[in-house]
């Protein structure tokens, strides 16, 4: 709740570190680093979900403690689901990285089709320019 939620400074710093390190890794070229990046951001997100429940209290089991002293169980349930999902997707990404290594010999994320097409066009243009220059040189030589 907004009124009684005190922000834990240590946790805020940890979160900031996890998110920034994770997103930095996500922007790398190698799929392995991206994978580690998603794992780290995933940890950050799950930790944030935990913290969203407010300060820690007693275990939320009926009859064990008064409801006011219990930790909010809902974010824990959600974090558990989120952890399972991120875990499964990490495994899938790992398999994809392996497949990429088998097929291409590396796990780098390649340029998209558009970029490659433009580069080829550039090369073709450069080649035709070279040819034109050579022809001109030949013509000058024969004159």
């Amino acid at each position: 709740m907004t009124d009684d939620l005190t922000v834990n400074f240590t946790m805020a710093v940890v979160l900031a570190a996890l998110y920034s390190a994770g997103f930095y890794l996500l922007m790398q070229r190698s799929l392995m680093r991206i994978l580690i990046g998603t794992v780290i951001v995933g940890h950050g997100a799950n930790l944030l979900l935990q913290l969203a429940g407010g300060p820690p209290g007693r275990a939320p089991i009926l009859g064990d403690a008064a409801p006011e002293q219990m930790t909010d169980p809902l974010p824990q349930a959600m974090a558990l689901t989120a952890i399972v999902i991120t875990f499964a997707l990490t495994t899938f990404l790992l398999a994809l990285a392996y497949r990429s290594w088998v097929l291409l010999g590396h796990d780098e994320v390649r340029d998209d089709v558009e970029d490659r097409r433009i580069r080829r066009l550039e090369r073709r243009l450069a080649e035709s320019e070279d040819e034109a220059q050579e022809e001109e040189l030949e013509r000058e030589a024969t004159q």
């Binding site: 709740m1 907004t2 939620l5 996500l26 799929l31 991206i34 998603t38 951001v41 995933g42 950050g44 997100a45 799950n46 944030l48 979900l49 913290l51 969203a52 429940g53 909010d72 809902l74 974010p75 959600m78 689901t81 989120a82 999902i85 991120t86 499964a88 997707l89 899938f92 990404l93 994809l96 497949r99 990429s100 097929l103 291409l104 994320v109 390649r110 998209d112 089709v113 558009e114 490659r116 097409r117 080829r120």
Partner: protein
Amino acid sequence: MTVLVALPVLLPLAAAGMSLALGRFADFQRIIGLVVLAAIIVDAGVLLYATDRTGPVVLQVGGWAAPAGITLIADRLSALLLVVSAVVTFAVLIYSIGQRLTDYGRERASTTFHPMYLVLCAGVSLAYLAGDLFNLFVAFEIMLSSSYVLITRRTTASRVRAGMTYVIVSLTSSLLFITMIALVYAATATVNLADLGDKVALLPEGLQVALGLLMVIVFGVKAAMVPLHFWLPDSYPTAPAPVTAVFAGLLTKVGIYALIRTQTLVFSHEQPWTLMLVIALITMLVGALGALAQNDLNRMLSFLLVSHIGYMLFGLGVYDVIGLTGVILYVVHHITVQATLFLVSGLITRHTGTVALSRMGGLAKAAPMIAVLFALPALSLAGVPPFSGFVAKLALLQAGAGAGTWPAYAVTGGVVFTSLLTLYAMARVWTRAFWGQVRAPEPDPDPDDELVVGTGNSTRPMVAATGVLVTASVVIALFAGPLAGVSERAADDLMHGETYREAVLGGAR
């Protein structure tokens, strides 16, 4: 009655399990998929009738009361989209079974395709029915994780590349989604959409704007809203035709649905919502201009898909009952038409053996059936009367003209201009692929045009399935009156969230 709400999620999930376990029996797999999807069409139809007559149908899963438990709710909007999605997934399944039969014969089954396809359907249904943010997240994950498998099946180098971009972008947006849920929960202590509407209104304005924008980004990535669209034209075209068709038809629209649902139910905006109008205009133009630059048929269609997402954002930007009516009509029209176009593109590329427009030609004479199947949805997409696109676009133009501010007028102009660009792009395909001489196969200078699909002749089931969707799109235009009626009532529900909140929370308020 309430069990009907759970069936569109439970049936395909159960069928997916059976389909996976009994993967060796090809015929069984096919039949169970078709039967389950047909059952969902019926179920969704009944739901639509019931919700339109008596209001939203709510299922509190496990009997836990609303704000704490899991809520599944079908109102007019979700029931309508459920019907359309079920019809499209059914037709696409027939198409893909037909393709499989032609390529591999009757005996060989695909062990992964059918289960994953059914899981995808379950995810899409759950996204429409979810009554809380976290369940919406789970729905997105069910949908996306099966889509990861579908897009990277039978991996070639190009599919790995496309799959990587797709998976990484979707995964990043999912992580942002969890972050958003955590922040929303920290601020309001609830994730129930109906409950959030009341609680978010109490928050300080700055926090409301921040949470609202975070949601726009999360769902914007999934809906391929410019500038978050870059992954789409790069990854969709590499997948096989039926997979691309169902992705293009449904996945982006689920993003749009989530955007509409949260931005109307949870947040309130000034009217019209200028930021969304600006994004809509940019999305329309970037998509349409991108489409004109393409030589690859599938990439061109993907850019057009991005462009037409802009129309739906435009309706949301107008932010009144008329605007949302337009969006709903447009979503219904676009799901069918975009899926159809990708299926036809599959037929075209099978026939010609290439995706490059510059290497096609003379199809109108060689394959007149394909020409008809392409022409009808293409005209509909461009918004030519009397097709469904015209009806939907007219509603949007009316909304834009009635909004009464300069940004809205400017975007209305943008809608007309983009329609012309769409028509031009379609005419370009027509003149290049369908007119002219049949080209003899020659070595391709551009290795990216290589095709991985088989190039055998198209068979009857594939053509028939495409025909069903084309007919569906014409039927939408024929029944525009009743459909517009339902859409208007659904839009009215969206603008005044009382019915939704009342149905979910009941006596709890």
